[in-house]
Structure formats: structure tokens, C-alpha cells
């Protein structure tokens, strides 16, 4: 399987950004972004979808952590 060309990459990244923006605007309610999710999935290789989903989780966590809102979970012994 050939790697996506620059054009294909840009189409994929565009679909990803649209989907991520939708999630942002709908307070992370994925059910309201299904159409964009479909477009995202059809524009990118499957492996990239998995990668970008994980990447968004990470970026969200990073955002929260840097804003000082992240509370580390208490260890099982204490709870």
C-alpha cells in the first residue's frame, strides 16, 4: 500500500480538523459529529484514524494538565 500523497494527506488533515472542531463545539458529544466522523474515516488510512484519535486524547490531556486542572487519581490503597 502506497503512502498517501501530499494532496491525500491534506484532504485527510482537513477532514480531521473539521471533525475535531465539531467535537470541540459540541462539548465532546461524538453523536453530534457522526457525519464528519464518516468523512474523516473515508479520507484517511485506518491506521492514521487510530493514531489521530489517540493523538487527540493526548492533546486534550496535555491541555488539561497544563491548565492545572488535572487531578491524578488516588492510588487504590488509599481509596
Amino acid at each position: 500500500m502506497a503512502a498517501p500523497s501530499m494532496k491525500e494527506r491534506q484532504v485527510c488533515w482537513g477532514a480531521r480538523d473539521d471533525y475535531w472542531r465539531c467535537l470541540e463545539e459540541s462539548a465532546e458529544d461524538a453523536s453530534r459529529c457522526q457525519q464528519l466522523r464518516k468523512s474523516f474515516e473515508s479520507s484517511c488510512p485506518q491506521q492514521w484514524i487510530k493514531y489521530f484519535d489517540k493523538r487527540r486524547d493526548y492533546l486534550k490531556f496535555k491541555e488539561k494538565f497544563e491548565a492545572g486542572q488535572f487531578q491524578p487519581s488516588k492510588s487504590p490503597a488509599n481509596s
Partner: protein, 266 residues
């Protein structure tokens, strides 16, 4: 008998004393005479008399100074020589590193064998990645190309050779590399090779890479270290730039390295 016996004993004693006393009195006299003589002569004459002492002191001081200067000079020369030797050893070590360090044997995207020596005389910006990379590699290559374009736009600067080395030789053959690099810059050179050749080249630059699990499409992501390397025209690793550095920052750094560069291979 007694006198006679003492006589010869006393006489030699006297004769011993005589020469001791005599010069003493004579000496005293001469010293006094001299003092009188001097006091009569007056200050002008004293100066004349003092003169032979002056030059002697000055000569001594001069000799001491010259000797000291000589010692100091010898020490400085020895130190300079030591420094030159240190510099020579360092240059020699660098020369060996320039030839041996970071060497590789790979295929460019035209199918030609390339080793590090082929890039001698050129500044090289090198990035390791893979063509199926979702976002980071294209971003970094885009940045690398921006650096090259910024430097190209400045007249009088040595052109920089952009190089992209794959860490996914299983999928990135010569044709895949050729397809990939042409999207970025006309002079971007793609390098690939056998798994061993790529492993060797990556080791030389301390690049870590590890292929992730394959999905149904046999697609996978390669995890790898992200850095842009700068090699000078001698082929020596000169600097590296992580993800946090902007194209402008990298271009500035390259310009500084170019200004400070002095070849050790001429």
C-alpha cells in the same frame, strides 16, 4: 733553656700576628684617607665616584630583567607550543571523526548508492522518518524545506542539501521515496536501503525507531526519534534541532554555524 725553648714558640706566634695587624692598620689608614679625600672632593666628585656603582646596578637590573623576560618568553613559547599540539591532536581527532563518524551507505531516490563522503563540501540538513507517517514527519520535512528556502533566498550563502532518511525500509523503497520527496522540495534527497543499512545509518545518528503492530491493511506506524541534524561541509555532525525549534530559529543557527565554519580537511 726555658727562654730558648719558648723563643722559637713565641716568635712564630708573633710572626703570625704581624701580618694580621699590619694590614689592619694600613687598611684603616687607607679608609680614613679615602674618606678625607672624598670629603675634600665635594658632591660633584662624589657623583663621579658613585657612577661606576650606578651602571653596575642598572646592568644587574637589566640582566635580571632580560633573564626574567627570557624565562617568561620561554614559558609562553612552551605554553603556545602545548596549545598548538593540543589543537593539532583535536583537529586530527575531528578529521578522523569527519571521515568515520556518522558514515552510511544508502540508496538515494534515483537508485544511486550514497555514502557520507558524497556530501563533502555541502552543508546537510538530515531528517529521519517514514513515508506513511501521519503528521509529524511531513510537518518536520515542511519545516526543513522552509529552512532551506530561507537560506537559498539569501545571496552568497552555501546551498544546503536537504536529506530525508527512511526508518521504514520494508515499505519505503526507491520508488516510494521518489514519490514522497518530490512533494516537498526539488532538491530533497530521499535515502533508503536494506534493513541493515538503515539500522546502521540510524545507529550512527542515535536515531531510535520501532515499527508498531500491523492492522488489517498491513499498515503500521513507526515510532521514532524526531530531530533534524546539521552536518558541516567536512561531514561533521554540527547541531541538531528538535520539534520545538521553528524554521526561523534553525535557519539562524545554520547561518551562525556557516559564519564560524573553518574546514579541517584542507
Amino acid at each position: 733553656m726555658l727562654l730558648l725553648a719558648r723563643g722559637p714558640k713565641a716568635w712564630p706566634r708573633f710572626s703570625l700576628l704581624k701580618p694580621l695587624i699590619f694590614p689592619w692598620t694600613l687598611g684603616n689608614k687607607t679608609v680614613c684617607e679615602r674618606v678625607q679625600h672624598l670629603s675634600v672632593q665635594g658632591p660633584a666628585e662624589t657623583g663621579k665616584q658613585g657612577l661606576p656603582r650606578g651602571p653596575r646596578l642598572r646592568t644587574r637590573l637589566l640582566i635580571t630583567a632580560l633573564f626574567g623576560a627570557g624565562l617568561g618568553g620561554a614559558w609562553l613559547a612552551a605554553r603556545a607550543d602545548k596549545e598548538r599540539q593540543r589543537q593539532r591532536r583535536r583537529t586530527e581527532a575531528l578529521r578522523q571523526a569527519a571521515v568515520g563518524q556518522g558514515d552510511f551507505s544508502l540508496l538515494d531516490h534515483h537508485g544511486q548508492t550514497r555514502c557520507k563522503a558524497d556530501f563533502r563540501g555541502q552543508w546537510v540538513l538530515m531528517y529521519f522518518g517514514f513515508t506513511h507517517c501521519p503528521d509529524i514527519c511531513p510537518d518536520e520535512l515542511e519545516k526543513l524545506v522552509q529552512v532551506v528556502q530561507q537560506l537559498e533566498a539569501q545571496p552568497g550563502l552555501h546551498p544546503v542539501q536537504p536529506v530525508f532518511v527512511t526508518v521504514d525500509p520494508a515499505r519505503d523503497d526507491v520508488a516510494a521515496m521518489a514519490r514522497y520527496v518530490r512533494d516537498f522540495h526539488p532538491r530533497l534527497l530521499g535515502l533508503t536501503g536494506s534493513a541493515e543499512q538503515v539500522a546502521q545509518a540510524s545507529r550512527s545518528y542515535r536515531v531510535y525507531y520501532s515499527a508498531g503492530p500491523k492492522d488489517e491493511d498491513q499498515d503500521y506506524i513507526v515510532d521514532h526519534s524526531i530531530a533534524i541534524y546539521l552536518l558541516n561541509p567536512d561531514g561533521l555532525f554540527t547541531d541538531y534541532y528538535g520539534r520545538g525549534r521553528s524554521a526561523e530559529q534553525i535557519a539562524d543557527s545554520v547561518r551562525q554555524h556557516m559564519a564560524a565554519f573553518q574546514s579541517i580537511l584542507t
